[in-house]
Amino acid sequence: MNIIELEDVWKIYRIGEVEIPALRGLSLKVKPGEFVAVMGPSGSGKSTAMNMIGCLDIPTKGRVLLEGQDIAALSEIELARIRGKKIGFVFQSHNLYPTLTTLENVQLPMRIHEFSEVQIWDRSEELLQLVGLSDRANHYPSQLSGGQSQRVAIARALSTYPLLLLADEPTGNLDTEAGGEVLDIFAQLNAQGVTVVMITHDEKIAERANKIVRMIDGALAS
């Protein structure tokens, strides 16, 4: 079964009287174990596509299926629960909760989903080790470099054992070296079987994925 499937998805934003179609019939499938890069210039509808894949928004027309289930059939609360648990987000910036330490940030999704204390502590320590930041466990986000922040964000995104790691320009604010390190982690995770979808406008970064989906004007570029 596909982890996520977009079927002829339209998203039309309305600003006053004007209708702006951000997506015009986008269809997309993500299979387990894939590392997909969604590519496209700015204004191509990548971000809207990411909202759809991440179940953060509901399409105007068309269907979004998460593990075969139409998300339109879910209530707001159910959707929030499922989204939080099954999809791990890594955003471009401001990923971390500034008032919490690195360790607490990694634990936050597990606390939201009420994991047991034992699980919370074991898992968060294990994940910090995975991204190589065990020694920064008690640092606050303001004390971390951009690359370190993104690695913490990845650890956090993984904490609830999601089906899918969804990253929106994860290296957008990083220099080449730090960006490379982050991409290495994605590749490493994918090699271990984690499904990754990454939104980017950068060809070089997209090349790290094993499948590239190109978008233009709100639909797939053919």
Partner: protein, 418 residues
Amino acid sequence: MRLLDIFLLSLSHVKKSRMRSWLTIIGVIIGVASVVAIISIGQGMQENMQERLGNFGADIITVIPGYFRATGVHSEMHTDRSVSTSSSINLTDKDYKVVKQVPGVMYVNGIVSGKADIVYDNEKTVVSVTGVDTSVWRLMDTTGIDEGRYLQTGDSNSIVVGYNLAYGTFLQPVTLNRPLTVGGKNFRVVGILKQSGGFGGGSDTAVYMPAEMARGVITEKVANNQFTSMVIKASDASLVESIKDDIDQKLMSSRQVNPRTKDFTVIASALIREQMSGVTQTLSLFLSAIAAVSLLVGAIGIANTMFMSVMERTKQIGLLKAMGAGEREIMKLFLIEAGMFGFVGGIIGVVFGSAISLLIPFLGVQALGFGGDMRATITAETILFALGFSVVIGILSGIIPARYAARMRPVDAIRYDQ
């Protein structure tokens, strides 16, 4: 999300923005402190009043010559003056008989009071003399005997003295069986009253003797068949008001006066007490309302801070929602934070308010013309009320910002540019 985890998350916010949190809390502190101080002072005032009025039994009605249109505070407080200026219209035997026949009247004490010189142990001063009906006085007095006995029927040269007169007026305390001279006549002390603490300390510095003796010693002229006042004990405290009206009517017809030419006043101290506590209650309610305004300002401060932090944290709200937090959890997160401001502000405010209340007696402020020192009474109820109220106010002022935060769509929140 577990409540404890939401609480810790709220706490992390409060701790991170210390300056702003404290400024918000100070607003609450000022409000709560003023409310606590004012309620405590109001309560102190009321208790003060109760104690001062407490010695007039609830079943006692007093008739004095002279008419005071404003029945209440003044007629009660200045009985002495009214007597001395209206000696020509004293109450008479006839009035005594009329009053005695009013249904519900148990005892009537015809009183002859005035001033006289007192000499004790070669010291001389002026004293209030209260001449009483020895047959009923001991049955009606509410002060109580400290030492010795009340006056009895048949006593002639015996007197009972007030507590302060016995222990505070002369260099040597007045003791039982000691001779002293009042208005040139010799008396023997047979009893000392307990301290009453009543209005102006009247009964504490007075001497009590049989009415017929008083007529001979006081400087004022009171004829043999006249009294300067009558104190009446009603058979039932609950009937005081109707008995008072009855006495009023009967005396008006026997003295042949109408409400315009009325020359006497009937006072029921229980009614005065009600009136007085009504006045103090209104007063403290009014003051509390003013204090509540400062609490309101504190509440607005909380709301303002909460709105600011909701705006600042839009991105974080988006993150929490992306991670699966629902509206309820976001709502709780902000409400707990607002409630914390209220609670901490409440606790510190109560401490400050209590401190202010405790300092009041030392400031020696006179209580709004009632005489005596002002004091404040802090009760557990006041403290709990203030604490509860400040938490509720904190939460209430957090509701709108919290709801605003909770209803943000995750997409908008995440894309929000800081």
